[in-house]
Structures are given as C-alpha cells and as structure tokens.
Symmetry: C2
Amino acid sequence: MNTTCPVPRFDFDAITMGHGGGGLLTQRLLQSGVFSVLGNELLNQQHDGASFSLEGKLAFSTDSYVVSPIFFPGGNIGDLAINGTVNDLAMCGAAARYLSLAFIIEEGLKMEQFAAVLQSIGQAAKTAGVQIVTGDTKVVERGKGDQLFINTSGIGVVHRNASIHHQHIRPGDKIILSGKLAAHGIAIMSKRKGLSFETDIVSDTTALNHTVINLVETYGSGIRFLRDPTRGGLASVLNEVAGLTKLGYNLDQKAIPIDPQVEGACEMLGLDPLYVANEGIFVAIVSREIASDFLRTLHQHYNGEHAAIIGEVSTEHAGTVVAKGIAGGHRIISYLAGEQLPRIC
Amino acid sequence: MNTTCPVPRFDFDAITMGHGGGGLLTQRLLQSGVFSVLGNELLNQQHDGASFSLEGKLAFSTDSYVVSPIFFPGGNIGDLAINGTVNDLAMCGAAARYLSLAFIIEEGLKMEQFAAVLQSIGQAAKTAGVQIVTGDTKVVERGKGDQLFINTSGIGVVHRNASIHHQHIRPGDKIILSGKLAAHGIAIMSKRKGLSFETDIVSDTTALNHTVINLVETYGSGIRFLRDPTRGGLASVLNEVAGLTKLGYNLDQKAIPIDPQVEGACEMLGLDPLYVANEGIFVAIVSREIASDFLRTLHQHYNGEHAAIIGEVSTEHAGTVVAKGIAGGHRIISYLAGEQLPRIC
C-alpha cells in the first residue's frame, strides 16, 4: 500500500444507509476519512459546488466506473476512476485540473475496502496533478448496487497547440499505439469468478496526461486525433473514427505491441485482443511528416516505451478497418456486436 | 407527456449488457435515441470530452441520483438529475451552462422507461437553459443496480455580483425560505412499496437558476449564503452552516411555509418536515437591510410566491439551530442521527 497519502481512519466497520442520508453519519463519514485524504482549499469549502478561475479553452468529460471486481491486479476502482477521466481529457489535448468525485455505495461495504479505494484516489490524483474539488456520496440498499460505483467528471485546459479533431485526419496519416495492448481487460478477467487463472498480468491503468501534453506541446497540429481504447478496445476506436471520417484504416497486426502472456491469455479465453479494454495506452493518428519524431519522443516517456506505428490511414475501403494478419492475409475488423467483457471499467 | 422535445425511438425493448459494451449496441443506443433528444453542436462531436470557452469565475458541481422509485408524482429521475445540479450551481451564484450526463443502467430496463426519462432530461435542460455536452453509459447485471442511476456534473459561470460564502453571515441576518417545505420527500414516500397513500402531493423539482441569478444580480453581496435543502432537509443545511459559522440560527416554526396536505402526511408518517428533502426551494441568508426587498422580488417569481422570512441569525446559542414552536416553546433542531427517508434523490 502506498504510504504517501494520509490513511483514512473510520470509527465504524461498514457503510449503512444512514451514511447516505445527508445527516450526522454522512458528516462523520466525510470528516473522519474523506477530507483527510482528499482535502484541498477548494474541497474544504464544503459548498454545493467549487468555484475557481481558469483561463483558455476548456475540456469537460465524465465517466462512471462499475468495474467488477473493484480490486484487481494493478489497481482498483479508485485509481481507475481518476486515471480514466484524466485520460479522457488528455485525449482532447487538455491538462486535467479539477475533478468531481461521486460515490454510489452499496450498504455493507467494508470501511477497510472504502479506505483503500480512497487512498488510491488520493494517490492517483496526486500523481496526475489534479485536485478533487467537489463530490457526492449516495448509499443504496444491499442488492441494489455492487459494492461501489464511482463517477468522476473533470475539467481541463486545452493546450494552445492542440488541434485534435477527426476532421483533421488525412490519407497517409500514421496510426500509433502508445503501449502494449489488452493488459487491463485480461487483468480483470483473471480475477473473475469461475475464470481465475494464474498470471502476472496487471492492469495498465495510469495517467497519460503528462506524456500527452508534452507531445501536444511539441507536435501541435501534426497530431490529428487521440483516443484511449478503453471499453470495446482498439477495434471500436478505429471503427468509430472510420465511420466519422469515411476513410480506411489499415492495421499491421504484427506491429501491434502486446505482451506474450496477455496474448496467450487471450488465446486461452478465445478473445481477440483488438476488442479488449485498455486503461493506460492511447491511439494517436499523426501526420506522416512527424510520425517517426513523435514515436521517438514517445519512447522517452515511461508510459510510451513500447509505442509503435501500427498502421496507416488510406482512401481505400473507406469507412472500414482492415488488419493484415501475421500470415499476410487481410480481414475486416468490425464493431463488436455485443459485449465481450462486461463491467471492465 | 411533454411533446416539445423529440420522442426517442428505440428499435429494441430493453437494455442488455451489450448496450454498455462500447461496441455496436452502444452505438445503436446512442444513435437511435440519445442524440436525437439531447443533441447539440458540442455533444454531436462525440469525442471523449467537450471543448468550449467560458469567461469569468466558474463553479463546478456533481451529484448522483439514485431516487427510488424512478418515476414519482411531479417528476422522474431524469428531470431531478438536471434540476438538482443546475440548482447546486445556482447556490454558488452561478448560471449553469454545460452539464455532463452519465447513466448506470440495470440490465432489463424497459426502453419505454428509458425513453421517458430521456425526454424529461431534454425538457428540463431546455427549461433551465443548459446543454448536455458529454456523457457516459454503463450497464450492470440484473440485481447489481436498481433500474437506473444518473450522475450529472455541471459547469456554470459565477455572477460578477455574487459574494456567497458562509463566512459572510452576520448576526442579525435574516433566514428566508423560497417556497413550501417537504413536498419532494412526501411525494416519493407516497409511492413507496407498502406506504402508498392517496394524495395530490407532487415533488417540487424545478430549476431555480433563473430566479436565483436574477436575485444575485439585484442584491449582490446582500445575499450572504444560499443552499437548497435536499437530503437531510432544512435542518441539515442550517446545522451545517451553524457548525461552520459558530453562530446561532433561530427559526420561527409558524413562519415556515408548508402545504397543509404535506404537513398532514408528515404527521401521519411521524416525520418532521424540517428533515424532509426538497428539490425546488432554497434557503437564503441575507442582510437585514435587504430582507424585505429581497422577499418582495422573490414573490414575483413563479417559484418564489410562497417565500417567507423564517428566522434570524444570532450570537446566542452559538453553533446550534433553535426553533420556536407554534405554542411558543423552543427546541433544539439537531442533525438527524441516521437516515429518515433513504433513496430520496
């Protein structure tokens, strides 16, 4: 357990309905643990909302986290909720600044677990350089939730050099993946009831903002488009952008970085890693001119060392994603019809 | 049903796990219904976040809504989620501008119900004058949620005349309630399993932003403090502010506006209306000098016609809330120890 954040101390064992009532128990929950871990000048005002000034163009994003189980190899629902929203803002070319944090807790959640999640939240916020400035806590009856759901929304400042929009994508642009594919989904899967298997695979959950803002600063409008391939994986991101741009997206399967253990687990489970969720990598579509410099810079960042050019945008087979396989054959990568791995984030 | 918003048309009967998977079904859910009701220039970009410019001091707020049942007399979880966050921003003296919207849907929710909620969301956003610019949809298995939970977070622009902070409260300030107490909580209660009783009582859910911003514009720093007494009711708001300011808060019970039917229902259920949730009124603590003018202006607004001065701030019995009863006796109004009405908002 990371010790750089204060450890919350609660004077009760488990969450009761009263902790969501807005009365004395809610106050005690907040005062005895939440504020000690997450407190800052804005949050400590304890008003209905936080007030601040921000200069420039803003980005605003939201995500609810319902991952099951809430603790998994490499992280838990707490750091996932911070990193996820920080990353969504980074994909807009924005440096996350202020986050909101809203809990929906199932009655009976052990305070030990809640404290561990809170501490991860505090640590992740610190690492990402963001402040949690406003929040909410609701409690639902046993059997009406699943331990803990978290919503984070975030506000960031868009970098002045950012010019990220799918409309800027051109034929000839390169598709770059910032790291190894499919670790998050497989890490969750390895802990699922009835599916447990021995593995050292850990979730890739991490904050990408520092890396991304540095790239945006350097490469500006050479970066056409950014997206983190979470739910639905790389295949869904590229299908979405293929649909929006009416261009073709060609992948070179053998260029896609993936850990051999993750690849093995995918084979064992019958999963295509292109559809598996990630929480610490991003797809960048960049101009041909900057592609190799961009890659070189990315390689210097701790979370970009495995980055690779994995494909190219083309005018052929407009609106679709095509992968050239290891053996040389081509296949169309379409949207997943249903859900491959539910409750992954 | 209000017909000024487009009616969403879904080509399936109920939510399945796949609708939360980020693949084809998620796309279909969004394209076939959500965007048609809520679409605007920013939301339609379909990026991970929305980007925009806002001048001035900002306010940021979040709330998750877990009300049960999701449809109740006078509203549903959809308009509640919009009005609630719009009102939280208004209590900061801010005009809400952009909202995020995140659904956690229980597998099996009927599309008919989801469509009705969406339509209420669209209508409430229109009435409040806010845009939904970014969102998220998650689905959890049957028995791991309760039909529908909604999180809304919002960004507003703080009015230049606003100077709202509990530190500005002074002895002699007047406590004003903008409307009748306890309607929301009793409306929910009347529909609870095993508690149904005949009543015409409807929730007071409404957007307060237009009224509040008009008052802030006119009365500026004469308005010391604003808060909407939702969960925990009027008693919790005043206890919180009493604790923060170390001043005494004297209420005149007979001055508090309440509908006789609501009062009767509270008596029948053994509930103290001071602790019952509201979703369409606010408490204003204002300087003695402006109190009667403020009240006169408030009376001219459709959601302020029943406003009344209900008490005064004093240096006596510091840190507590005291109510003078109908018969003249005094009682201390403390925080509710537990939860009076769970899942009220």
